[in-house]
Symmetry: C2
Subunit: 170 residues, 2 copies
């Protein structure tokens, strides 16, 4: 439990995260000859300003502030683009979106979502993937897309004990 992911470290340099994410995104889009337009980049930046998944409608006011049209299609289009490029993921159990910390090769995330503070961490868990692939292969099922979303309490929120959860005496 020594090396926490950044999302579970309240004190980390988040501006750095945002900066790095945008840099990677620009690089990837350039490589792929995809246009990271101002709207798309703004949406990506807004999403990265939070380590918590954001709903599409939460992004609209900021688009308006920046002088863009802020009707729903605007933000959904940007989100579609960012998802296609693997720059953001949709958390379907929350109807919300979060930045991908390691975009690049297409992949599916495995998310740990804190129900108390909403911090969300994306794992690259090979064992989880493998277990799923084995189970599916066993039934002759061909996997195209995986959704793994785990809700619970992050280390920081366990002491405050927001109701239903009780730490297991391991």
């Amino acid at each position: 439990m020594s090396k926490q992911p950044l999302s579970f470290q309240p004190e980390h340099d988040h501006d750095h995260c945002i900066h790095e994410a945008l840099k990677k995104a620009r690089g990837l889009c350039a490589e792929r000859k995809q246009r990271l337009t101002p709207i798309r980049e703004l949406v990506l930046q807004l999403i990265w300003k939070s380590h918590k998944p954001l709903g599409a409608y939460e992004l609209l006011p900021a688009l308006a502030d920046a002088g863009f049209n802020s009707a729903p299609p605007t933000v959904y289009r940007a989100l579609d683009f960012l998802q296609t490029q693997g720059l953001v993921h949709r958390i379907s159990s929350l109807n919300a979106f979060i930045g991908c910390p390691h975009p690049g090769p297409s992949h599916q995330g495995c998310f740990l979502i804190c129900r108390a503070c909403n911090s969300t961490v994306e794992l690259e868990s090979a064992p989880v993937q493998n277990a799923i692939h084995n189970s599916a292969a066993h039934l002759g099922f061909i996997i195209e897309q995986e959704t793994v979303e785990v809700v619970g309490l992050c280390p920081n929120c366990q002491s405050n004990d927001p109701s239903p959860a009780q730490r297991e005496p391991e």
Copy 2:
């Protein structure tokens, strides 16, 4: 790949499934002193009539036909009850609900969803659970709820090859 789950067997005796599911539900609710009211039982039956996840709004017409109120809260209340009792699961990537084939001890399913025919199978995959638990424990994250939803092609739909999927030459 010999023993397919029923959902992937088009020819199985589905009336039997429905009957068994309702019987189990009645038993469990009786044990727990929970009221499986006519509306709740009807909703459960409707869900079981399909091996495919159904949206809440798809249930409303049948409620109306049966003489019940068919405004959304009616069906959502029934679904909430059934979920709490572990009799149905919500598939969040589809905004839809499916019957649980082995209700009883509270559990989380791992779902294989065919994007061609919508058949959905609930696995009890200990390896998947374990992999998730290990990853979470490693970060000190306490799990309360898991969502594992895998979309792809079931064995029956692979021959028809509906677009994007390509069978891996294993």
